[in-house]
Subunit: 292 residues, 2 copies
């Protein structure tokens, strides 16, 4: 397929490379030209704008920072809609709010572009190893059409529902993982403060109902004190803001998610924003006379 790709960051670059490895030809554009280089080296075509990317593409994929970035690249001047042929599929793999996603999808529809929201989970390792979880919202036949692209980038791929449903699933994912990291940090710090070996506690808990990928992977890194990212805390902070904004809009109480969001705020405020979310353990240690 002729695939446009915009957003060649930590996640986007390996995802785009995986698409090329699967035999797709790529058209790329980036505000900072040097971001394109690894893709050009692999044979991608450099474009001069998002509209230029769209001009020769069947599908354009974006994975950028936040809602205003998606809006600008899709609908702004020299954006995707400006260059799109009728029937182009725009797959946005950024994590943004379900509500904003629905709005962008509606405006793109008026201009002949079919939008899918397809946020991912699995972090940089998942992007590199093409093992991402991909949660897709939007038109079912566009999903079928784009499936080979998803399969080149991820492993667990699901069509959840209409426009925005992928973002809703991602929000649910960030609730469960964000709260999960917090609860594991609280528990392991509780063990340490009680004079009990946190590694032994993690191990016995893995044998019962407390078992989770977060306790296994993130808990394991807390015990070994490996705080390099992975998935940076300020990114999870951003995702929790999206979750709580949506909850505010809908009038939903999210008590444990709100507590976790406050902890991510405190991580960023205390200089842990660039470290992995597992560094939340340090936050608890600092508040309880531990190593920190």
């Amino acid at each position: 397929m002729n695939v446009g790709f915009i957003g060649l960051g930590l996640m986007g670059r390996p995802m785009a490379l995986n698409l090329m490895r699967a035999g797709h030809s790529l058209r790329v554009w980036a505000r900072r030209a040097e971001s394109m280089q690894p893709l050009l080296d692999a044979g991608a075509l450099a474009c001069s704008s998002a509209a230029d990317v769209a001009r020769g593409a069947d599908v354009v994929i974006t994975i950028v920072g936040d809602a205003p970035d998606v809006e600008r690249v899709a609908l702004g001047p020299e954006g995707i809609a400006d260059g799109a042929r009728e029937g182009l599929i725009h797959i946005d793999m950024s994590t943004i709010s379900p509500e904003v996603t629905e709005g962008i999808a509606a405006r793109l529809r008026e201009r002949g572009v079919t939008m899918l929201d397809a946020p991912v989970s699995g972090g940089e390792p998942g992007a590199i190893n093409a093992t991402l979880t991909i949660m897709v919202g939007g038109d079912a036949s566009a999903f079928e059409c784009a499936k080979p692209l998803f399969e080149a980038m991820g492993k667990a791929i699901s069509h959840i529902g209409g426009n925005g449903a992928g973002q809703v699933a991602k929000a649910c994912n960030q609730i469960v993982t964000g709260v999960g990291v917090a609860s594991v940090a609280e528990a392991l710090n509780f063990a340490r403060a009680s004079g009990v070996d946190a590694g032994a506690v993690r191990e016995v808990l893995m044998g019962g109902f407390a078992a989770s990928r977060i306790l296994d992977a993130h808990g394991g890194r807390m015990v070994k004190r490996e705080f390099r990212p992975g998935f940076k805390s300020w990114m999870h902070q951003k995702d929790m803001r999206i979750v709580l904004d949506e909850a505010h809009r809908m009038g939903l109480q999210l008590p444990t998610a709100a507590a976790a969001a406050q902890l991510f705020n405190a991580m960023v405020g205390s200089g842990l924003g660039e470290e992995d979310s597992v560094a939340m353990l340090k936050l608890f240690e600092r508040m309880s006379g531990g190593e920190g």
Copy 2:
């Protein structure tokens, strides 16, 4: 072994029966005589008090409600210490506070009794199928001596540390599982309120870092609306009180655990105390115009 068993409730009865099946002879006592009947039918010996249970036993196991019950049965009039021969091992499998456990262990030591704390996780199904997780604190050689008994009742069996360490591990377990149930209920209610199929969200989340036994088992029961216990909410409420009392004593902040504890309070206060902890979903629905 000659094993005494006190506390023939929902958990204790199947645990005691599994000990008999493994070939141990049991001495039992209960305040309500009818609680003993299933054990007597299986060949256990009825005793007239906790002291009487201890008199003929190498090991006495207790699994009762709360700290005052453990204290009474161990150290009260006609309690275990009154009937114990020198070197008796008392295994308390109740969930009580680590601090209280240490105190009881110290007083029993003065009277020649070695205490192990060995709280369990896995609920009634785990008790019936002998698949409990057993977290043990106390003397290492007493642990080795009691191991065949643990193996007749559970699967993941760990010696965590000195007296109270088993209770610390159990507290950590209740933090992670209690907060886990809350976060899954919040996420699945978020999906429903957004008009997205909660079952589809649970399924895609199981493919990524959100995967856990709680999302799988408890999340599955939320989707199918199976609220029968399992593990009653008022029991998890009690365990969260122990956790937060300990945190207060140590000066530890537990933000997500505290939020979860409030939710268990609200479950009990709104008539959901006898239902399984998965009925927390109903609480969120009632607060957001859902089915409830």
